[in-house]
Structure formats: structure tokens, C-alpha cells
């Protein structure tokens, strides 16, 4: 940095983008959330908090709880699948193959999330590939689609790279001589994993978990496409308020409640996150 003036000039484009595309829409939504739905689905500005009180209704709290459950399950499965993957990529796989393998992890991003979710529909539906295979083997078809398991599956599939990449970064950085030291001091491989590898890669675990948990909390596409008619999550609920019920103020209030939950989470994990940043 040279002078304060130059720094401000360089930051100006970013500031403008944030202001126009984040702060202003948030303010519009905040204002809307404090209003009331008009008969034609527009916003009546009468400054009250009724929408927030309505969001605290047990009916909606249950939806929020379901979403927290989905996010927790997605994070847990991503961690269970992603840690061994990242471990193998970062510590075991031959070094010269590493970048190629990392590209494979990111490769799904080249296709739109929507298209990938439809691919799961084709795989899982009653006449889908999986059931066709089961029938060909003389086994009965299963109801794989339109339930919570399908939602978690789609969500885990979609978020897995966001778990693997930060885990890979911290595992690759891990000093191997520390693992040798642990073995030398009498730690069997599994104990070395618990006592050395996991504690030292905690920043990666925290970063990956937040990167998976937060988008999963407000997930919309996977619940909408893979979930059943009666499985409502916060994401689908908000979409419903804006598009179907045309209750913009309540939809806005719900999304602010969601943001609040995320903010609380970020505050709770700020210390390990800062460690992850270093």
C-alpha cells in the first residue's frame, strides 16, 4: 500500500459492487420484511415486526430445525467422505498425479448445479437407471426419489468439493515428519490420526464444514428437485413465499432469520476460522 488515497481508489470498484449488489438489495429486503402483503401481492409499508413474530411460530421453527438437520447431515457426510478423500489426495497419492486428481474434484463445477440435480432425478426415479439395474438383476425396484434421503444425497454430492478442497489444503501442508515422530513415539497409525493429524488439520475441518453447512442451510435446488411434496426446508419455504404465496414481506423476514442463524454460527467459530485463514 502506498497512500491511503490510492488504497481507497483501488478498493472503490469492489465497494461499488458490494454496495449495489449486496447492501442495497439487503436494505430493500429489510424494509419489505417490516411491511405487510397487499391484496395483490405487493408490499404495504407500515413498519411492524409481525412477520418476524410469525417466523417464530412452531410451524416455521420446525422447518428451520429440519434445515439445520439437513445442513448438519450434509456436513457430517461430507466430512466422513471428504476427509479420507483429502487424506489420500494430500498425503498418499503420488505427487505428480496430484493436480490431475484435484481437477477431477472440481470437474463437476463445469456443469450447472441444476443439470447435475436433474441427472440425479434420472438416476433415482422409479424408472431410473438404478431401478432398471435392480430389475435386471431380478430385484424389486425401490422408492429412491422424493424423500429426505434423496435430498441429503444430492446435497452431499453438490457440496463435497467445498469440503475436500480446504481439507486437502491443510493435509497437504501437514509436515510428514510429525507423523513419523508420532509413530516413533509409539503411536499406532489410528492413534496418530486422532492425536496428531486431526488436531493439526482442524482449521481445514472448520473451514470445510462452514463452507458446506452454510449453503446447505438455505439449500433450495436439491430439496425442490429431489425432495417430496411434504418435505419443506427454509430454502423452499422462502422461494414459496416469494413465488407462490406472493408474500414478499414474510419471505424477506424468513431470509433475514436465516442470515441471523448463519451470523451466529460465524461468530461462534470465529477463532478456529481465523486460524484457518493463517
Amino acid at each position: 500500500m502506498r497512500t491511503r488515497g490510492q488504497a481507497l481508489l483501488l478498493l472503490a470498484p469492489l465497494g461499488a459492487v458490494l454496495l449495489l449488489l449486496f447492501v442495497v438489495p439487503q436494505l430493500i429486503m429489510l424494509e419489505a420484511s417490516l411491511g405487510r402483503r397487499s391484496a395483490y401481492g405487493l408490499v404495504v409499508h407500515d413498519w411492524n415486526v409481525l412477520n418476524y413474530l410469525r417466523a417464530l411460530d412452531p410451524l416455521y421453527l420446525r422447518v428451520l430445525a429440519r434445515s439445520l438437520g439437513l445442513a448438519a447431515a450434509t456436513t457430517a457426510f461430507c466430512l466422513l467422505i471428504g476427509y479420507p478423500m483429502a487424506y489420500w489426495l494430500g498425503l498418499v497419492a503420488p505427487r505428480r498425479w496430484r493436480s490431475a486428481l484435484l481437477v477431477l474434484v472440481i470437474l463437476p463445477f463445469w456443469t450447472s448445479f441444476l443439470v447435475r440435480m436433474y441427472a440425479w432425478v434420472f438416476l433415482l426415479r422409479t424408472e431410473g437407471l438404478v431401478n432398471a439395474g435392480l430389475l435386471a438383476l431380478g430385484l424389486p425396484a425401490l422408492n429412491l426419489l422424493y424423500n429426505d434421503a434423496a435430498v441429503v444425497l444430492g446435497q452431499v454430492y453438490g457440496e463435497l468439493p467445498f469440503m475436500v478442497l480446504p481439507l486437502f489444503a491443510s493435509l497437504e501442508k501437514l509436515d510428514r515428519s510429525l507423523l513419523e515422530a508420532a509413530a516413533d513415539l509409539g503411536a499406532a497409525p489410528r492413534r496418530a490420526l486422532w492425536r496428531v493429524t486431526l488436531p493439526l488439520t482442524r482449521p481445514g475441518i472448520v473451514a470445510g464444514s462452514l463452507l458446506v453447512f452454510i449453503p446447505s442451510l438455505g439449500a433450495y435446488l436439491a430439496p425442490d428437485l429431489l425432495g417430496g411434496a411434504r418435505t419443506v426446508y427454509v430454502g423452499t419455504l422462502i422461494q414459496n413465499q416469494f413465488v407462490v404465496a406472493r408474500d414478499i414481506p414474510f419471505g424477506s423476514a424468513l431470509s433475514f432469520v436465516l442470515s441471523l442463524v448463519v451470523l451466529v454460527l460465524l461468530l461462534a467459530f470465529r477463532r478456529p476460522l481465523r486460524a484457518a485463514g493463517n
Partner: protein, 360 residues
Amino acid sequence: MRGDVSLQGLRKAFGDVEAVRDVTLEVRSGEFLTLLGPSGCGKTTLLRLVAGFETPDAGAVLISGRDYTGEPPHRRPVNTVFQHYALFPHRDVAGNVAFGLEMAKVPRREVKERVARALEQVRLPGLGGRRVDQLSGGQRQRVALARALVLEPDVLLLDEPLAALDLKLRQEMRIELKNLQEGLGRTFVFVTHDQDEALIMSDRIAVMNQGRVEQVGPPEELYERPRTRFVADFLAVRNVLQATVLAVAAGRVSLRTRGGAALAAADDGQWREGAEVWVGLRPETLQIAVEGAAAGELRGTIEDEVYLGDRTEWLVRVGEELLTVSQAARRGPALRRGSQVSVVVAPESVLRLDDPQAPA
């Protein structure tokens, strides 16, 4: 016996590179044995074979009389002090030293006592609560030592532990390590490329070259009677010459160096007439004189003079050979660049060197 190590016919290759080729070596219980050699000679690989970080392609590793070949490191009664210490950054000093005891499920109270004792042993009492990144290089080295010694291993393995320290600290640690080892009476296997370090600390030195042990013996023996060209070169026998044995008679060996100088050596029964050999002459066993040639003297010209405080070194051109002569500091006026001098070689000081690496 507890604390001895027997390496039998060990081989280890990485791809096309043979790091260790057929090493057989006995380490005696309670001795300080140094593996000495240049980088890439296989000394660290050999140490890692003992620790269990590598498995040999052939051969066996016996520790305290038991065969540990193929056993993983965590089941071996040895501990290692790593070159860059490998201290756990997520644990404080006491946590690092306690790690092995926790793995061995030692009761908490005993862990505390033993950690405190180990830190005292390495002269770091009261530093248990310190974070690892708050320590100096020398302190880290001591913590690494305490962490390994607290487990009372049969054999302690040290992989160039002093290499990362500055010169003064390194010199202090040499003495301290040696004293510690003598006090404990434990077997230390120490890897270094530094010949001074090896000479000062070791009970015995094994000089390694290209994956083989070329010579094993106490420091005095290696220094005074290096057997191979490589060992001589590594232990500062500065004049290594190729020569032909002209005659062996009456306890005397006549040699002619490739550069044309005539030498006489004492016969120990190993010289063969007509053989091509390598001979070594330590600079400090050579005498320099102004007066003219008698038997066993080489005529030459001084090409350069290097004053080193406690001694002076002269580079003397004898025919085509350039000899280094070292003598206690005495700068005579007659010894200048260009002076005609004679170099006196005592026959007993001529070392016959083998060259096992050369094609037969």
C-alpha cells in the same frame, strides 16, 4: 543384550537408486556409534531402517537380540531425534515430552514426574508450559531429545540433530550430548556428515560411502589408519596419490607416484611388487627442509603458503604432484613462494589405501 543392534546384509533401493547396499554392522550395547559420510551416502536411510520408517529390500534388523525386520516404528524399542526436531506444534513443551508416555498409557501422575525429570535432564526445567514456537533452535533440540529419552529407549537414534544449530551452540552440544550418553549408558546411533563431530563424540565411527560401510573403528584408528581412499579423503588425509610398487625388499617398499616422485614406505607384508596402489600422506606427518636431498626426501618448489595461526600450510610442487605440508607455526625467512625445498616422508607414515569403489 539390551541396547545392541545387529544389522545383517541390509539393502534398500529407491527406484534405481541403491541407497543402502549390503550393510552388515554390529552396534554394541551402551556405545556411541556414529554413521559418518557425505550427503547421499545412505547413512540416513540406514538410520531410518533401524527406526522402522523404511523396510529393507533384503537383510535383517535385530535390536536387543530380537528380530524387528518388518515391524512398524511404533513397536520398536528405539526413539529418534529428528533433524528438524519434528515437535508437535499443537502441544506445549510438556505435551510434546509426554506424548510417548501417553501412547504407552503411563498413569498421569507418573507422566508428570517423568516429564519434569526429562526436562531437567536436558537442562530445560520449568519450561513445560512454553509453546513450541516460542523456543530457540537450541531449546527445540533439547525438547526433541527429552521427548525421545523420556521413553528410556534401548537405542536412541539421532539424525544430524546438531546440523541446524549455529557453530558455537553446536560445539557446546557435542560435549553435552556425549556427557549425557555416558551418564545414561544408553546406546546412541548418531548420523552426521561432520568429521569433527564424529571424532569428538564417538566410541566408534562407521564411515559410509555409496550405500556401503567402508570402515568401522574407534576415532583414533580411523584417523591414524584409514584403510580406503574414500575414508582417507573424508578424514583429512589431504595428499592421496596414485603410485606403482617398484620393489619390496628388507622391510622397505619403493614406490613411484604417477607424478614421478619416488617414495619409500614401511612394509607390513601387504604390498605386492608391480601393483598399482593409492597412498595417503597426512600433511602434519611431512617435514619440510631447505637442505638438499637425502634418501626419502622429495625435491620441490613452494607454490603457496597459508598461515593459519597455530600452524602453517605449504603447497609444494613435486614433479607433477602438489603436496600439502602442515607444520606448527614457524615462518622461517627461507620458506617463501618459489623456494626450493625438500619434503621428508617418514616411511611409517605412508598409508596404503584400497579403492573398493573402483572397477576391478
